[in-house]
Symmetry: C2
Subunit: 202 residues, 2 copies
């Protein structure tokens, strides 16, 4: 039997555990996700709008990641968490993480909020904490990205206007895509904060 056309193709990216048994399993249940979506104001229209422009996110994902990495590189308090011992830039770590970061953009725009998606958000959260940082790549960068910078980076990652301009003709559509992206990212980042949080307070 060949692979079904309906199944999303999982790219061969080292350490990319989306939908695989290597991914952590989220302890959350479906109603937790629905409550969070509702709080954030995420709608079916948001999901459909991003999916509909999935090709644009695919096309722009690497440029987006490059722009975010330029911001990180320009702020030593951010760059620190991606450096090796003695503050030496770890180019291998960055090179290994990059395709997953690019794929994250595409996944965030196009994947349904199902169990595989939820599980991988747990995995991504853990990979920003001492529980799993570096483990997928066997590197020696600091053991976490502090929560304040994970959250503080939201404006950078959600400021995607320039990647849409000239590609989305209508201003109202552009604004709607930008807003849907913001909510899609926020839902995931909030899920990533779970392993950072004291028992019972998440």
């Amino acid at each position: 039997m060949g692979s079904s056309a309906a199944e999303p193709e999982v790219p061969k990216i080292p350490g990319y555990a989306y939908g695989s048994p290597e991914s952590a399993h989220s302890p959350l249940i479906e109603s937790d996700v629905r409550e969070l979506e509702k709080t954030i104001g995420w709608t079916e229209e948001d999901a459909a709008l991003l999916r509909q422009h999935g090709d644009l996110f695919c096309e722009q994902a690497e440029a987006m990641v490059d722009s975010w990495r330029a911001i990180i590189a320009s702020q030593p308090h951010l760059a620190h968490w991606f450096n090796g011992p003695y503050e030496r830039p770890d180019d291998e770590y960055k090179a290994r993480v990059k395709p997953r970061f690019v794929q994250w953009v595409i996944d965030t725009a196009t994947r349904p909020h199902d169990q595989a998606w939820l599980d991988y958000q747990e995995e991504i959260g853990l990979r920003h904490t001492p529980a799993k940082k570096n483990s997928a790549d066997e590197r020696h960068t600091p053991p976490m990205v502090p929560l304040r910078f994970l959250l503080g980076f939201l404006p950078a990652v959600t400021d995607i206007r320039r990647f849409l301009e000239g590609r989305i003709a209508e201003e109202a559509t552009l604004q709607a895509i930008k807003r849907a992206w913001y909510k899609a990212v926020l839902i995931e980042v909030v899920l990533w904060t779970r392993p950072y949080t004291r028992e019972g307070l998440w």
Copy 2:
């Protein structure tokens, strides 16, 4: 000696500990704040723009709070954290918190990011966790607001366009105020997450 005109007047609001010895003291130092501001992209221009429109925030603060509370009331998983025992709405708790919530809007738009401001953000964070929730009001609502809802409420609190429309003539200025408000709120919310976070991960 009369009170100096230069000192900001501290309103007489029960439990409002801004700039008072009752406020918690933040363990952060100035460079922590500057790093966070830089990560978020907060600028002197943002601060000046919000201060310049301080009167508008004063005028709209209560309507903003009412609109946010309407969202909370419409979502049982949010309303729960403001209810008394047996899920009975605690109107006294809500009435006591409200003037502080309104004052928070004004403070966020107008206060400089100095030590008194930083200390009060620590206090606000603690008041959303078991360390201090209910303590200022001697009420019996649940002992926290879960981190996921504190963060998930960001889009509601930063969607202030309708409070600016008709009052800010230029669209570019309106957008700039909206963006500055988003960053001002995000900085504070990130500071509030400190007491939620596992040792060493903030």
